[in-house]
């Protein structure tokens, strides 16, 4: 590139940098600033109050619930989604009949819009009209209709199940691509040495795709922690806060109750969590890149 080309490089970059600066980076800082101001429906004019919104949020009953729910939600979805995604990828890499068709069909939930997914599953879970209860009763698993989303014992599990249903195809895609890069000759050598399928998985396949697995787990942690639509449409954080996670709590506090300061404080906590996750992501990816042969 000559020096006149350098001007072109910057001209091409300018719109993207400007947009990201104004609409992503500035709001991130804005949330931190906002958290030191108190706004409410009665007094919509922001008033600087120092750490007092933090004290209010931290001492509220809802805060530990939201933290706990976010942990259960994030770990539950990530773990199940990656396990199911991995085993689906293994299964669809065996050369069975109708493999291509199954692969394409499995991607359907991934493309189904989030709000549609939520509405469809609200209906599936409906105590009287839903398919789940009528199937489970017919199979003899349940004696009477269960209110999956209306009971605080089952609501979180029910929502996690839906997120896994929608999310596992994405993990499957990534793992399938990784599996197809595993050295076939190593697998064959292991088979000749008498290694069964489980040994081959542990000794050859897993070490070969370890980096992809790690990066993918951290990536899904970040995405899952930020999830909003499915939870909001299915439960609105209820019943009795049983499914309130950071994004739904922020939305409800901010746009439902117009308490922007409190919503922003929840936002700051979620930024802190995210910073830790991103740091882990960078470390994992760096060490993965370092272990890769040069080139």
């Amino acid at each position: 590139m000559t020096s006149s080309d350098q001007r072109l490089v910057w001209a091409f970059l300018a719109p993207t940098l400007l947009l990201l600066g104004v609409f992503l980076y500035y709001p991130m800082i804005g949330t931190v600033i906002e958290s030191f101001y108190d706004t409410s429906f009665i007094s919509p004019e922001p008033r600087f109050v120092g750490w007092s919104v933090y004290e209010k949020v931290l001492s509220s009953r809802a805060f530990p619930e939201v933290v706990w729910n976010s942990i259960v939600w994030t770990l539950g979805v990530v773990l199940l989604q990656n396990l199911l995604g991995f085993f689906t990828a293994m299964l669809l890499n065996q050369g069975l009949p109708a493999q291509g068709l199954t692969r394409a069909l499995v991607l359907l939930p991934f493309v189904l819009p989030g709000v549609v997914t939520a509405i469809l599953w609200r209906f599936m879970y409906d105590p009287q009209l839903g398919l789940i209860n009528s199937l489970l009763i017919r199979l003899g698993v349940l004696q009477e209709n269960a209110a999956w989303l209306a009971s605080s014992d089952t609501a979180m599990a029910a929502v996690i199940f839906v997120a896994v249903w929608k999310g596992f195809p994405f993990s499957m895609l990534i793992y399938l691509a990784a599996l197809q890069n595993v050295d076939k000759s190593q697998l064959e050598a292991a088979t000749l040495d008498g290694a069964g399928p489980v040994r081959r998985l542990i000794d050859v396949t897993l070490p070969a795709i370890k980096d992809v697995v790690l990066v993918n787990i951290v990536l899904t942690l970040i995405l899952t922690f930020n999830y909003f639509d499915i939870v909001w449409v299915m439960t609105r954080g209820g019943p009795q806060n049983a499914t309130h996670i950071f994004p739904t709590k922020i939305f409800e506090t901010g746009f439902g109750q117009f308490r922007f300061g409190e919503a922003a404080t929840y936002g700051v906590f979620s930024i802190l969590v995210l910073t830790v996750l991103v740091a882990i992501y960078i470390i994992v990816q760096r060490s993965a890149a370092a272990r890769r042969p040069a080139g």
Binding site: M1, Q6, L8, V9, W10, F12, L13, P15, T16, L17, L19, L20, V22, F23, L24, Y25, P27, G30, T31, I33, T88, L92, L105, V106, L107, L108, V111, L112, P113, G114, V116, I119, L120, R122, F123, M124, D126, L131, W165, I174, N181, L187, V212, L219, N226, F228, D229, W232, P247, I250, F251, F255, F260, A264, G267, S270, I271, L274, V278, A289
Partner: protein
């Protein structure tokens, strides 16, 4: 790989179970959308309607649905166009620029794709309010372009990195201006990447819910996901119409995705596997 016949049958069984797990909800959605209002759908749930009818679709395709559909089409269409254009320009600079500062800026772009939308939405909302853009297409398009740009740049950069620089160098020696090289050599070669990225932006913006819910307050500006969410209250227990609307919202993205999926899958996995 060698499999015994029994193993193979067990694996095929698992594959059928998998297909059932994925498809049963879709099947149920379509089936209920085709059931006449007079036919009960539960206790015990009948899987397929006795007398399938399109009446739910006719009722669900009401004027407000058409408005939401148009709004979604406009907002998503504009977002795809703007994001992919700006993303391609930026990605070109990120692959061809040699300065250290450019590498650092790419880091900031990658970082931005992980920002939680719920954590930036309040300042974003206030910004839109202060310039009087709430409840306009512009506010949603600005939001969608901003949140999809990081991944778009990252995907397009992956594609551009694979293009041979020699073609561009040869054109430069022949005296072609940098802009012409970009327009006549790089853009045509980057077509698979452009398609993959467009599909990504379409999938994300077609279903975007949080910004649309926060930024639009009147019915004439709402997009499909928000409108569908409103229907839950309005339709009450009229699931037939709700499912018919759901099918109509989903069919466009599913169709585009299956038509163009090989591009999209290549774009997504190339980046994600290679890092």
């Amino acid at each position: 790989m060698t499999q015994s016949a029994t193993t193979r049958w067990i694996l095929i069984g698992f594959q059928l179970l998998l297909a059932l797990f994925v498809l049963l909800p879709f099947f149920w959605m379509v089936s209920v959308s085709l059931k006449p209002a007079t036919e009960p759908f539960a206790i015990p749930a009948r899987l397929w309607p006795q007398a399938p009818t399109l009446e739910n679709y006719v009722t669900a395709f009401r004027p407000e649905f058409r408005t939401y559909f148009m709004n979604s089409l406009i907002v998503s269409g504009a977002s795809v166009l703007i994001t992919v254009s700006l993303g391609l320009l930026a990605a070109y600079s990120f692959t061809r620029g040699r300065l250290l500062v450019i590498t650092a800026l790419m880091g900031l772009v990658v970082l931005a794709q992980m920002f939680p939308h719920s954590a930036i939405i309040i300042p974003f909302y206030k910004l839109m309010r202060s310039v009087d853009l709430l409840n306009t297409y512009a506010s949603l398009i600005l939001a969608y372009v901003s949140v999809t740009l990081p991944v778009a740049v990252w995907m397009l950069r992956g594609f551009l990195q694979k293009l041979p620089v020699s073609l561009e160098e040869a054109a430069a020696i022949d005296g072609a201006a940098p802009l012409r090289i970009f327009w006549e050599i790089v853009v045509p070669l980057a077509r698979p990447g452009i398609i993959a990225t467009s599909v990504y932006v379409l999938i994300v913006t077609w279903q975007e819910f949080l910004f649309a819910l926060s930024f639009t307050s009147t019915k004439d500006m709402r997009t499909l996901p928000v409108g569908l969410n409103d229907f839950i209250g309005q339709y009450g227990i009229r699931y037939g119409e709700l499912m018919a609307s759901s099918v109509m919202v989903s069919v466009p993205v599913i169709a585009v995705f299956f038509f163009l999926q090989r591009y999209f899958v290549a774009g997504l996995t190339a980046g994600a596997v290679k890092g």
